[in-house]
């Protein structure tokens, strides 16, 4: 028996927004030529690319020439970190970042360290919020070239004190890079940053489109081999139909963001409360108030995370996990580790525009039995 599927992993990839689908199909017809060439078909492609850039920049409240499209959110994050460090190499070789950055940022940091640079990781509290005092001290140290702070945790939903962190960076004369992948198209993005990135498939755009925004006056230098595309910020021709779809769906998602947040936040509240009340021995992770509107994470004691994911999948529920057994490295999520949270039996549920109250109810109705069944199988009853 297969249950109707309930997709609850928007923080990995949101289902394609209908506006994205429409724009993608239209742009496939019209946007296949290389926008850099000088014939009719190329001019049409150039118009589409320019319009997409204007629309995305307008939605984010930035100038069009500050925004580049990249082949993924990961590429955008790598470019933000490595380009921000390259542009400020005369100021020093240190990257300051929170302990809970996305792995794309941490991998770029490892690259920087392997090349002789240094990186300072700033700890978070038990709710997953970066320590503002430690942050201020870290960015004020000599030789800091760039600071990187995720806008809100993609794993536990805790919103970071970006404005406060930006003020500390400004006082120290250090540019701030904000990974806004979970905010753009969903929640307001605080100001004060110099570099920002986002990823289209998080807001309902197609996969394979990232945004890299470098504010005017920021010392940023491409870390990649030279290429004239996208103001020299990211090499290679863009996937124009996907870019057009990303920009169109960003505008649509941003227009609905406040209403969607008001609809989804109570559903997340319901999950937080009901999971804590109805599943014994569960730890709901992350800030209960200052959090993303669409994401909630919890860990179930004595439960194997991989087994839980498979059991939920068999009942039609698609969720993700930060448990070690679900990762290719067999290490627990660095975010849960930094918070000191229970890491096994971990589930992240993230909602989107197609998520209904009835789907959430079905999940909440089935979860306690699924967890109890797995505990019984493991012989972990009455402990």
């Amino acid at each position: 028996m297969s249950a109707p599927p309930v997709y609850l992993d928007a923080a990995t990839a949101a289902p394609l927004h209908p506006v994205a689908r429409q724009a993608l199909l239209a742009a496939l017809e019209d946007g296949w030529a290389d926008p850099a060439r000088l014939y009719t078909q190329a001019r049409r492609a150039r118009q589409l690319l320019d319009a997409a850039r204007e629309a995305a920049a307008d939605t984010l409240g930035v100038r069009a020439d500050e925004l580049s499209f990249t082949p993924s959110g990961t590429t955008a994050a790598h470019s933000a970190v490595l380009g921000g460090l390259a542009g400020r190499r005369r100021a020093g070789g240190t990257l300051v970042h929170s302990a809970i950055e996305h792995s794309a940022v941490l991998h770029a940091a490892e690259w920087h360290v392997a090349a002789g640079g240094t990186a300072t990781s700033v700890p978070v509290d038990r709710l997953g919020r970066v320590d503002p005092d430690a942050w201020s001290v870290a960015v004020a140290a000599p030789g800091v070239a760039l600071a990187a702070l995720i806008g809100a945790s993609h794993e536990v939903g805790t919103v970071q004190p970006v404005a406060e962190a930006a003020a500390a960076c400004a006082a120290a004369g250090v540019p701030l890079y904000v990974d806004a992948a979970q905010l753009v198209g969903r929640a307001p993005v605080p100001g004060g940053w110099s570099v920002l990135t986002a990823s289209a498939h998080k807001w309902g755009g197609p996969p394979g489109v990232g945004l890299l925004v470098v504010r005017k006056g920021t010392r940023w230098e491409s870390p990649w081999p030279a290429d004239e595309r996208e103001s020299g910020r990211t090499p290679g021709v863009v996937n124009l139909p996907a870019v057009v779809a990303a920009a169109a769906s960003l505008r649509a998602a941003a227009a609905d963001a406040a209403a969607e947040a008001a609809r989804l936040a109570p559903l997340v509240d319901r999950i937080r409360a009901r999971v804590a009340a109805e599943v014994p021995d569960v730890e709901v992770v992350g800030d209960p108030v200052d959090r993303l509107p669409h994401l909630v994470t919890f860990s179930c004691l004595y439960v194997d995370g991989e087994a839980l994911l498979h059991a939920l999948d068999r009942r039609g529920f698609a969720v993700s996990s930060g448990s070690s057994c679900t990762s290719s490295t067999l290490r627990p999520s660095h975010v849960l580790e930094a918070m000191g949270a229970l890491s096994h039996g971990n589930v992240r549920v993230s909602l989107h525009r197609e998520t209904t109250g009835a789907q959430v109810e079905r999940f909440l109705a089935e979860l306690p039995g699924i967890v109890a069944g797995l505990r019984a199988e493991a012989g972990a009853v009455g402990l």
Binding site: S323, L330, P332, L342, S343, A378, G379, A380
Partner: protein, 87 residues
């Protein structure tokens, strides 16, 4: 690692009453093993759990917090995790 002047003293407070070898087991098995064994020891006793799954470093202290038991210390050798039964 006891020095000569410590030989006559009572066992150091972190000396485990028992060692539970959970090496080769993946989380949550070491935590389940801990939860099974600790209540069988007297209050005040320390159980050392040997576990090489990296998640144990996170999950054994988290279990102690959730259960109100005392996480004494992590030992590099094993690696081991010392937990004292407090109630």
């Amino acid at each position: 690692m006891t020095g000569p002047d410590e030989v006559t003293r009572p066992a150091a407070p972190t000396d485990p009453a028992e060692v539970l070898d959970c090496r080769g087991q993946r989380c949550p098995l070491p935590v389940i093993g801990l939860a099974r064994r600790l209540p069988e020891l007297p209050v005040g006793a320390v159980l050392r759990v040997l576990a090489d799954d990296p998640a144990a470093a996170l999950d054994i202290p988290a279990w102690c917090r959730m259960r109100g038991q005392e996480f004494v210390a992590a030992q590099a050798e094993g690696p081991g995790y010392d937990v004292r039964r407090t109630h």
